[in-house]
């Protein structure tokens, strides 16, 4: 097991910068997710770590050793690909023992290692099956076992769950986490699925346009996004643009309570981010008390136990609004078009400067 360090890694294609002097350190035994939209450079960074792409500048260090000049086959990294990538002519067991086999491990050891890993991923009974005889989830488990069979210093997972259906994806996600904890192998997972990243990682590295925007624990990323992009990208949030005014944010004619505004000078242009789970609703009884805003109930989206209600703010010229997540039974009393009061704790909104 080992630490991974990317130091000043840059990559451009035809003048377009894909990675811009990126620095990232991953601790021993840590599972770090590279999260970002398509084209943000997360897969390029993973492939540079794997050795499939040579960076224009910078270094990749594994356990303190510079592996940048090494070919992929000499890096001792296991990799799982999005498209399964099992060798079609080999059984599950032969796939898993491929790495030890080409590495010169004695045949008996190859087989015992393959059988042990197939047992670990719950596929001991499927060891003699060919890839086409297995489901996508089973194939990806074999791919995981195969990557671990070379006893890698680092495990690289390139969107391993994106080709699977939702139920299998959730199962395999838990399984990857369990196996990663059991083996203690330092793991880098690339994904564009924020739910996946937040649920599986020790830390999440959010990327956009070739830059790292924030590297932090999932909870910190969710609660304290470093900038507007992270706040918009992670989870659902209402975004209201305004200016700070006496420890609140003025949005048009509205004064919205937000302790975070105190961290900015008065009159500063800011964005106020408010998560739907922080918004509480009451039926309006004629007047709007301090600390609340008036709104009209708009569309609702049913998520099972929760219902998300869209709110159109009164006294606001734009169509900007809020969302409120309520238990579905409670949400039924707020029908579309009705007038409500929306409240939240002043500590809940995140206020981020627009400069």
């Amino acid at each position: 097991m080992a630490t991974i360090q990317a130091r000043g890694v840059s990559k451009s294609y035809s003048g377009k910068t894909v990675l811009a002097k990126l620095d990232l350190t991953m601790g021993d035994g840590e599972l770090v997710c590279l999260l970002g939209p398509s084209g943000c450079g997360k897969t390029t960074l993973l492939r540079i770590i794997a050795g499939f792409i040579t960076p224009d500048a910078g270094q990749v260090l594994v356990a303190g050793q510079d592996v940048t000049p090494l070919p992929p086959s000499a890096r001792r990294m296991g990799m799982v690909f999005q498209s399964y990538s099992l060798f079609p002519n080999m059984t599950a067991r032969d796939n898993v023992r491929f790495g030890p086999r080409v590495g010169g491990v004695p045949a008996a050891e190859q087989i015992s290692r393959a059988d042990r890993l197939l047992e670990m991923v719950g596929l001991a009974a499927h060891k003699d099956k060919y890839p086409h005889q297995m489901s996508g989830g089973q194939q990806q488990r074999v791919a995981l076992a195969r990557a671990l069979a070379v006893q890698p210093q680092v495990l690289l997972l390139d969107e391993p769950l994106s080709a699977l259906d939702a139920k299998v994806r959730a199962q395999l996600r838990d399984e990857i986490r369990r196996i990663q904890r059991e083996t203690g192998v330092t793991t880098v997972l690339v994904t564009h699925d924020q739910e996946e990243a937040l649920s599986i990682s020790d830390r999440v590295a959010v990327m956009n346009e070739g830059r790292l925007l924030q590297v932090a624990s999932p909870a910190q990323i969710y609660r304290e996004p470093a900038d507007g992009f992270v706040a918009r990208f992670i989870g659902a949030a209402a975004v209201l643009s305004g200016v700070t005014e006496d420890g609140a944010v003025r949005v048009g004619n509205l004064i919205l309570q937000a302790d975070g505004a105190r961290q900015h000078a008065g009159g500063q242009p800011v964005d106020l981010f408010l998560r739907p789970e922080h918004v509480r609703l009451e039926k309006m009884n004629g007047h709007i008390p301090p600390g609340a805003v008036g709104a009209d109930v708009g569309d609702t989206t049913f998520f099972g136990s929760l219902t998300r209600i869209r709110l159109k703010l009164h006294d606001h010229a734009d169509s900007a609004g809020l969302w409120a997540d309520l238990p579905s039974e409670q949400a039924e009393q707020f029908v579309a078009g009705s007038r409500v009061l929306a409240r939240w704790d002043a500590s809940a909104p995140r206020v981020i400067s627009r400069n």
């Binding site: 690909f81 060798f87 079609p88 086409h132 489901s135």
Partner: protein
């Protein structure tokens, strides 16, 4: 599945007659002994010819050597092109199609002028492997290309590399076994092309099986028909052998269930 209608059966029957009719008539003619008698005289006479076995052996050896050359040279070249230089695909396509547009006699002239060595090869029938490689190239290229396109070659190669294999091991242990069907197709087509090639062998004065058929046909038409029949049988047996070998431990390339 929809049933084959009457029209379909008629088309199938016409196609079968078109393909099988000449073969049956050739067999019948090869057994004709004159005056309404039929027998195996022409086959007996044919098999007593002193050069039949040697010319057959030469053609079979040339077929195998050409197949080997295609596997050793063409497959790695196509794998490298697909992995590292996909922009060269149009160049490969152009080269692979060239033998179709250059007449065989022009190829012979060019070959004689260009390939003047090495000495150990020039005087032997194996010199023909060079032109036969190019003659079989369009068919072999197409068959192997279809096989390679069906594989996710880049990801399989990267998977192999990440597991510590070198490119040679990946080609030997992963690519070639997964190209089995394509290689069988390529081999069958190469066998058929080489066994029936006449122009090169005749102009360069090598006594292959096709040259023998032509010789016999000049002065003994029923023997020529018998030889053609034998030639068909030999080619088909070879093809059946290759197909059986390819089917054993056959590889499924379909995706997930």
């Amino acid at each position: 599945m929809k049933r084959l209608g009457t029209g379909g059966w008629v088309i199938l029957a016409l196609a079968a007659i078109y393909f099988i009719g000449p073969l049956v008539l050739t067999v019948i003619f090869s057994m004709w002994e004159g005056r309404g008698h039929y027998g195996f005289d022409s086959y007996v006479t044919l098999l007593q010819r002193p050069n039949i076995v040697s010319s057959l052996v030469i053609s079979v050896e040339l077929s195998l050597a050409t197949c080997a050359a295609l596997v050793v040279l063409l497959v790695p070249a196509m794998v490298f092109m697909n992995l590292y230089a996909p922009k060269l695909r149009p160049v490969f396509e152009f080269i692979a199609a060239l033998p179709f547009v250059v007449p065989a006699i022009a190829l012979v002239a060019g070959l004689s002028a260009l390939f003047t060595g090495p000495e150990w090869l020039i005087g032997t029938p194996f010199y023909l492997v060079i032109p036969y490689f190019f003659l079989a190239l369009p068919y072999a290229y197409r068959a192997i290309d279809v096989g390679i396109r069906a594989l996710d070659l880049a990801t399989l190669t990267e998977a192999g590399l990440s597991l510590g294999a070198d490119l040679g091991q990946i080609i030997r242990l992963v690519v070639l076994p997964n190209l089995r069907t394509a290689l069988v197709g390529s081999t069958l087509l190469t066998l058929a092309v080489v066994m029936g090639e006449f122009t090169f062998a005749n102009v360069l004065l090598f006594h292959t099986f096709a040259v023998l058929i032509n010789e016999v046909g000049q002065n003994a038409p029923t023997e020529a028909a018998a030889l053609s029949t034998l030639s068909f049988l030999i080619t088909w047996l070879a093809m059946a052998g290759v197909l059986l070998a390819g089917r054993r431990g056959g590889v499924q390339l379909s995706g997930a269930r």
